[in-house]
Amino acid sequence: MKVYMDNSATTQMDKAVLKAMLPYFNKQYGNASSLHQMGREARKALEKARSDIAKTINADPEEIIFTSGGTESDNLALKGVAAANQGKHIITSKIEHPAIMSSCNTLSKQGYKITYLNVDSCGIVDLKQLEKEITKDTILVSIMAANNEMGAIQPIEDISEICKKHEVLFHTDAVQAFTKVPIDVKELNIDLMSISSHKIHGPKGIGALFVKKGTKIKRQMDGGGHEFKLRAGTENVASAVGFAVAANLDPKVKQIKELQEELIKRIEYDIKDIKLNGPRKQRLCNNVNFSFKFIEGEALLMLLDQKGICISTGSACASKSLEPSHVLISMGIDPVTSHGSIRFSLSKFNTRRELDYVVRNLKEVVEKLRRMSPFKGDKDIKIKEKEWEC
C-alpha cells in the first residue's frame, strides 16, 4: 500500500486542475503580452485566473501578482517593501519558513534590523512582544498565517490590528493556511500575503503575492512590464489557470479535520511516550506532528517509507545542516525530543483505510526502533551540555 501523508510538502494535482491546464500547453499557447488573437486568448485566460483567485480572498484582481511560488512571493514582499520604504526595522517570528528567514538574513546584512518574535510552547506568536518591539523605524511585520511544521494558526487578525494602530505594513505567509483557513484580506486588513499553488492541489512553480492597492513595493525581478510592473517575465498562463481552479476547489476542511482528529486520537491511544507538537485547538486541519521519545526521526521516516508511507521529520539528523528544527526548538522542545518528531500532513485524498494502515505500521516501527534504543525512560537520557558541537 502507498500512503501519501506529506501534503504540507506538496500535494497531488487535482484532476480538474490538470484538465483545465492542458489546452494552454499546445493549443492556446500564446504569449499573454502579444497583441494578436493568440495573445489575446492567453491574456483573457490569465486575467480570468487572476480574478478567480482574487475572489477567494476578497481582493481586487489588480492586487494579485503572479510569481513562481511561495518562496518568490515571500522574497518579493520582504525585499520589495524594504527597498521602497523608509525605515530599517522589520519584525518577524522565530517560526517562519526559510523563505522568510533567509530573506531577513539577506536584509540584515544590508543593514536592516530584524526582530524575531518568540512563540509560546504551542507555537503561537507573542503579541505583547510585538506591541513592544514596534518602533518609529519599523516598516514591516511579517508573520505566517499558519505554520508548516506543527500547524499552529497565528492570530493574524490581532497582529494586523496592532500593525494598523502603529501604521506598519503587515505581510503574512499564508502558503499553508490558504484555502484551509478563511482569509478575507479586506476584513483582516492585510497589506501583503503570499500564497502557493502546489500546496492546494495545483501545479508547482506558481504562486502569488497579494499586494493591497497603494502599498509601496519595488519589484525584485527586472525585465518587461509584466504583472503591473511588479514581476517581469512571460506569464505562466497554464499554471495560472491551474492555480485558479485549485483555489476554487472545495477544500474539504471538515473531512480532513475529522481524519486529523482520528489520527491524533489513535496514535495517542496506541503508542506511549509521545508528545503532540503544536496546539490542540488553533491547529491547521491537516497537520499532525508527534515526537516519539527515545528514537530518531530519520530512522522512523525510513522504516515508514519501506511500508510505503510518506511523511517528514524535524530531526536534525535528517536536515542538511544537522541542526534540529528551528520551529520546535523555539517552542522550547528539547533537542532530544525534537529528534524524534515526525509530521503527517493530510489531504482530501487520504482515507480511513490509509489511516488504519498508518497507525498499525507506525506502532510496529516505533516498537522496533525502541527495541534498538538504549533509552527506556527519560532518566536514561543524560545530556552532556559540553558536547554540543556534534
Binding site: I295, E296, E298, A318, P335, H339, M372, S373, P374
Partner: protein, 124 residues
C-alpha cells in the same frame, strides 16, 4: 538522504542488536543532543571478542554503522579490534554520505571505549 543498499539492509535488519547479560566491557558514547548515542557490550574470551551487542539511538547511518562495527570486531583479538578505524567502518558499508561520516566515528569510539572498559575492569 541517499543511502546505498547495504546500509538500508543493515539498518532494516541489524546484526548483533540487543542487550548482553554480564558483559565484560561496555562502551557508551555519543550525546543525545546530537541525536546519536551508542552502547556497545563485549564478551571477551582468550583475548578475543567472543560476543558483541549494541543498542543505538540515532539515524539510519548510526544504526547501520553500529551493526557493521559489531560484525567487524566479532572474533578479533582486542589488539586487532582496537585498530579498526572509522574509515574501515565506512568502507565496510560501501561508503557513507559525507554528512553522515561522523556516525562512523561514533561506532569506532564505542568499540574503543568497550575495550578500554574491559581492560580497566580486569586490572581492578
Amino acid at each position: 538522504m541517499e543511502y546505498n543498499k547495504r546500509i538500508i539492509e543493515l539498518f532494516t535488519n541489524p546484526k548483533n542488536m540487543g542487550e548482553m547479560k554480564d558483559p565484560d566491557g561496555v562502551g557508551k558514547v555519543g550525546n543525545p543532543i546530537c541525536g546519536d548515542v551508542m552502547h556497545l557490550f563485549i564478551n571477551v574470551k582468550d583475548n578475543k571478542i567472543a560476543d558483541i551487542k549494541f543498542k543505538t539511538f540515532g539515524c539510519v547511518a548510526a544504526i547501520a554503522t553500529s551493526s557493521i562495527v559489531t560484525e567487524l570486531a566479532k572474533g578479533k583479538t582486542l589488539e586487532e579490534a582496537e585498530k579498526i578505524t572509522n574509515a574501515d567502518v565506512a568502507k565496510a558499508l560501501g561508503g557513507l554520505p559525507p554528512i553522515k561520516m561522523h556516525c562512523s566515528v561514533l561506532a569506532q569510539q564505542a568499540l574503543k571505549a568497550a575495550i578500554k572498559d574491559y581492560r580497566e575492569k580486569k586490572t581492578k
